[in-house]
Symmetry: none
Subunit: 206 residues, 4 copies
DNA sequence: TGATAAACGAGACGGTACGTCCAGTCTTTCC
DNA sequence: GGAAAGACTGGACGTACCGTCTCGTTTATCA
């Protein structure tokens, strides 16, 4: 055999132009921020990106999928540092500050819009939620479990429920048009901390 | 004066057909449930309701406002009975069951979609949120305050925060496509109850 | 009855804008002459006429039908004067000069293109041929029959065949890209005249 | 000189695949007959022929040229036998039967379409007309001149005009969607024969 | 025998136009 | 004189092909 079996045979035909893909996502993201999901037209993105419409449709089925892809490509969360043994509330507050940074400004609104208008069951929709929702939850989960391992708190089987308490208010306020700031997330974290600390007894009483 | 002053002068011209208004809202609600906000077109509603497009535009400025109006007309919460002195968790669980009933099925998704895609600042948008969000919160707030008045819990100034904990997860799960059922809301209420009971001490420690 | 029964009740709603129809046909005709059938796009006509595409599609199903309509609206033949008793060849030559005037320049080419590319069986296609082909033949037929009535010629049952001899060469030359001028049609008419005169004997011999 | 001058230096590189050319023309001809010129797309022909688009564009500049080439490759006229001394009308009728055979069915329509939509001045267009138009005329011309040489008729300088009378009606009827059959061409030939025979006197009278 | 060169299939590219849907507006008739 | 109905302009949709391009592959000639 001239080549290793791990060598994936390349598909025939002209390969896709990765720079076109980037330009499309950039233009889409820009328009999403400036005009919102309702005004994001494939036509305009194509024009802006210097690309033909069919090129866009080769990658994404419609404007919503394009919007999701654009948002995914720009949304990531800073991982927590697992080495540092900071108290739970400090770690959570720092993390929520990151979350707020991601969701404040227009981006949060657009993410929520896109998520709300997407077909719940489509592949890309699941990927989108996986990226945005699970992307944030994973870090919070890590922090909580680290604290439990340190004996700081006792979670039992309510980790996911607690994570809902942590993140749900952010989306709820985005949805209802109320502002989110560090102050708000700090108070949220304090309440949760009280729940988890004070409830070691509560849990013990159970 | 040619006519008695107590006689409310009827406005000139053909009076509005109230049945048309109803037919429009009905058709809009039906289409919203069947096809979703993105597929709700004024044209289709007009056809379905047997009405001309301008008749719809006379009442609402665009499809979103129509959707809001249709949802408002069908969404209300059963008030709690303030006389009965039931324990906090029982009352909250019963209330959340009502909330789940309102938001389960397609309606909840469509409410979230509509809220997410609406212009945050418009009058009707505020009215919509007032109806849907504040409509539910008011009842929860009432229940919490009654419990505080009975000395069952101590809320301090965190009522609104607690209300966020109560309702936010519902919208969060609607948004993320996860199911909501009584089981979930029951667990939510239990955690909140633990927070508020166990934290009388937590609060005292503060 | 307040009004005569011949009064056709007008349909409700905004009536079609006749000036739009005219503008479309004008623009289409102009583009047809300037660019040819292959370059006649509905999009460009709409732009040129200051009209939306759907307005064009309300009247005509596609660019070909539009082209036919535009050509029909501009193509008519001057009728012969049945009172004047001019000799056959003089009358035919004058008529063929009219025909040449209609088909010379770009118009003839476009008519032939349109006719050649049209669906043979469509209603509008039949109307188009009726207008263009039969419109010319009718006059020629009239002239021939008048001559026969005067005893100038004897046609027998070959009128249509003779008409083919008269008009077919014009289209044949348009199709083959050869020029047509009065000289050519004059020679055609002379040959036909010889055929019809000299063949009174030929016919008698039969 | 390093090589014999009679040895045409073969171009380097892979030689063109003649079978691909054939497959393309076949597929194009088939589609032309089945769908017509307007529906003949290079894309579909490439797919049908199992060939890449660039291979088609290497040979022909666009779909029209391809159509012309496909039609030329399938269109030829049986030459007359110059030895046999058959009477004029018999020879012409036999020839016109051949012509009808070539132009009947869909092929004639497509030839006319292609001719009508082609750029009049292009090289291939001239070749196309040379093949189709002149290909038929040449045989008719031969027959006429043979008859004149036999003293059967006197043509003078109107050979081309008479040829127009012979072929033009065929194209005229193709264009106008009327049927052509042997009966029709027979009658055409009879009229022409009468014109040419009876008009020796007509010509003398002149 | 290997380098070089052209033609091959495949298919993505930037474009143009298609024919459709719907948004909102405007103009007429109806009540 | 406002409500109702429908045609209007206009913008975007998603699709079909255009003609061009870049790939990796195949088939020949030339060194």
């Amino acid at each position: 055999m001239s080549q290793g079996s791990e060598h994936r045979k390349r598909k025939p035909g002209r390969p896709r132009d990765e720079s076109a893909r980037k330009a499309i996502l950039d233009a889409a993201y820009r328009m999403l921020m400036e005009r919102g999901l309702g005004r994001l037209t494939v036509e305009a993105v194509a024009g802006e990106a210097g690309v033909g419409k069919p090129t866009i449709y080769r990658y994404w089925a419609n404007a919503q999928e394009l919007a999701m892809a654009a948002l995914i490509s720009r949304t990531s969360f800073r991982d927590s540092d697992p080495d540092e043994a900071v108290p739970l509330d400090t770690a959570l507050k720092a993390h929520m500050a990151d979350v707020v940074a991601v969701f404040s400004t227009a981006r949060g609104r657009q993410i929520v819009s896109t998520m709300a208008s997407a077909d719940t069951e489509s592949e890309l929709s699941k990927a989108f939620r996986g990226q945005i929702i699970e992307g944030s939850r994973a870090i919070g989960r890590e922090i909580l479990i680290a604290a439990e391992n340190r004996g700081e708190i006792h979670l039992g089987d309510s980790v996911e429920q607690v994570l809902d308490f942590l993140y749900a208010p952010v989306f709820y306020r985005l949805l209802t048009g109320k502002p989110i700031d560090r102050d708000y997330t700090d108070r949220t974290v304090e309440l949760i901390d009280r729940l988890l600390s004070g409830c070691s007894c509560g849990s013990a009483m159970k």
